[in-house]
Symmetry: C2
Subunit: 354 residues, 2 copies
């Protein structure tokens, strides 16, 4: 899969749209840059990637994406430092995970060169779109979907790989209140929970809306069998700090192998913070909340970075988390964003200049 | 939801493509008729449905269907009798189920009049496309997907409802050999298994391909926790006949409430066939295969109608089903297709003239 991308075809936009964008008031993922990358899979091979002006896609009504949900994606960000240089964070890990998702969803793997060269070429072209305001970044969305035709429920014979860029503000504003879910589930043992595929997200919307009606921002998913084990929050992995120990669930075929999650585990080790990657149950967390040993809960993901949880709801009771002056969450967030924005050394080798 | 469809806008095709179609050699769902129905949801309401020439759809790359899998569909068929009259089979049940899927996937419900009137208008326009060869029919695909924009993982604000028609031959050719799956799973407790949503299908492709490599046509899914209970086959519900008793699993939030499935249960009652709707375990079926009491297994679904199973594989052993001269499967198939093609009375009130 180390195929070198043949020279990427580039068609530049005639007039940039950048002057129309209010970079001080960016929502998340709702404004798109001048260009996008498109690469078609047909006749059994990925074709030459093309960079072109951001534009609509034309598809047959029988394209399998509309019917059988063959789609995968990644979430990444590009950051700009004070000198105007652009950086990516662990991009090879996104490529690796995209192909893990591809295999589970019967989508052909994308060669690394197509992904990395295409990504860098595209970001260089739209470098002026990387916001420099703190908390803002250029959100990067690589995705693949089934464009092949037909109503037979089987894998498509044609796919489209795209990369789109969206200058974005914060995913969550402020602290997050979560509900521990015991009725609905996100994924099955032997299912596709570990893959970044569309269906995993659509299935969460209804239970999340029910939680939002009750005043929560997100759902924390538990396993579908016992609803005892804390798994993930759908758009974030979950960390729990009991006394000074940081706990998170092991990844499995139900849980996404988050890049921010594993970065936090590595930072914690370097910082001498005791970590436990193990099953953590709801009763354990409730008990810790009651006896005061529960110090922190936070989500970790590319979109939300490190997202402190202010309270969790469980069986009709809300449990507030304490307000700490020097939280693990804020330490991790500072270390990660300092690396991302080239404000610090990068002892882990995660930062990659575009 | 009994809104009357405002007059459907109709734009007819200039020249029909029908003369290009070989009706004697139709695959399943790969040829499409002259027209399609399109109805947009925006500004909080479904707009006027339009019938137009079958054509490509244009979508923004950030349309949520590509990222978050919000999609639902139905499978139906239209049949033609010897007089050239066209019929549908229990179409209201498809409308009802589409809205059940819609609710679970946070998609706005489609009003019944939009569905039924649009369907009938479209079929009347493309009536000449209904094949009359035995075993062939006009496959109907109503579907809704998220066309609204943005990378935020939340329900879209715009949707498209389409109906496309595909003159089709049989879904399976010949008898089917199935593998009882114990590693992978189709759906979780509290998940979306009962909804006809794209992600439920994409997740099956990989395990099904593994089974196909071993010589099977389809997988029979078991529950994700114990892998003991027989659930469904992904594109079909499953019936098992032990001695003269017909057994099928109860519907649940993991299993699709199949229209062919419930038709068979009603026919069985009318025919005096003893039925049991209950959990049925793999060990029970294996034991019945060994002691000779297992008489039949068959799948039931709109696409495949009634699909006899010739053998099932389990833990490395294949168990053959006997060849019966007067099987339940063939009786049900005859009764159902005689009703569908207007070759018999319709004591159940299932047939609807278009």
């Amino acid at each position: 899969m180390e195929t070198t991308a043949t020279a990427i075809k580039i068609e530049k936009i005639k007039t940039s749209k950048i002057s129309q964008v209010d970079f001080d008031n960016l929502a998340f993922g709702s404004v798109f840059t001048d260009h996008m990358l498109v690469c078609d899979y047909k006749n059994g091979a990925w074709q030459t990637p093309e960079i072109m002006p951001y534009q609509a896609i034309s598809l047959e009504p029988s394209a399998k994406i509309f019917h059988y949900g063959q789609s995968i994606f990644e979430g990444m960000k590009a950051y700009k430092d004070d000198h105007g240089d652009a950086f990516l964070f662990r991009p090879s890990d996104n490529h690796r995970r995209l192909n893990i998702s591809a295999n589970r969803m019967c989508i052909p793997e994308i060669p690394k060169a197509y992904f990395m060269d295409g990504l860098k070429e595209l970001i260089n072209l739209d470098k002026d779109w990387i916001p420099q305001k703190d908390g803002s970044s250029l959100y990067i969305r690589p995705f693949i979907f089934a464009s092949g035709k037909g109503f037979h429920a089987s894998p498509a014979d044609e796919y489209k790989f795209l990369i789109c860029l969206a200058p974005s503000g914060a995913y969550f504003s402020g602290k997050v209140k979560v509900l521990i879910e015991e009725t609905y589930s996100r994924s099955a043992n032997g299912g596709v929970g570990f893959a970044k595929t569309g269906g995993n997200y659509a299935g969460q919307f209804f239970p999340t809306q029910l939680a939002v009606k009750e005043g929560y921002n997100q759902v924390i998913w538990t396993d579908d069998n016992t609803h005892e084990n804390i798994e993930e929050a759908g758009a974030m992995n979950i960390f729990i700090r009991i006394n000074d120990t940081l706990i998170t669930a092991p990844t499995s075929d139900r849980i996404l192998d988050g890049i921010t999650r594993k970065s936090i585990l590595e930072i914690a080790q370097a910082e001498g913070i005791r970590t436990e990657v193990r099953k953590i149950t709801v009763p354990e967390v409730v008990e810790a909340a009651k006896n005061g040993s529960l110090k922190e809960m936070f989500g970790a993901g590319t979109a939300a970075v490190v997202s402190p949880i202010a309270a969790f709801g469980y069986r009709g009771t809300d449990y507030d988390l304490p307000e700490l002056t020097d939280s693990y969450a804020s330490r991790f967030k500072k270390i990660i964003t300092d690396i991302q924005y080239n404000r610090s050394e990068d002892p882990f080798g995660w930062r990659q200049k575009v």
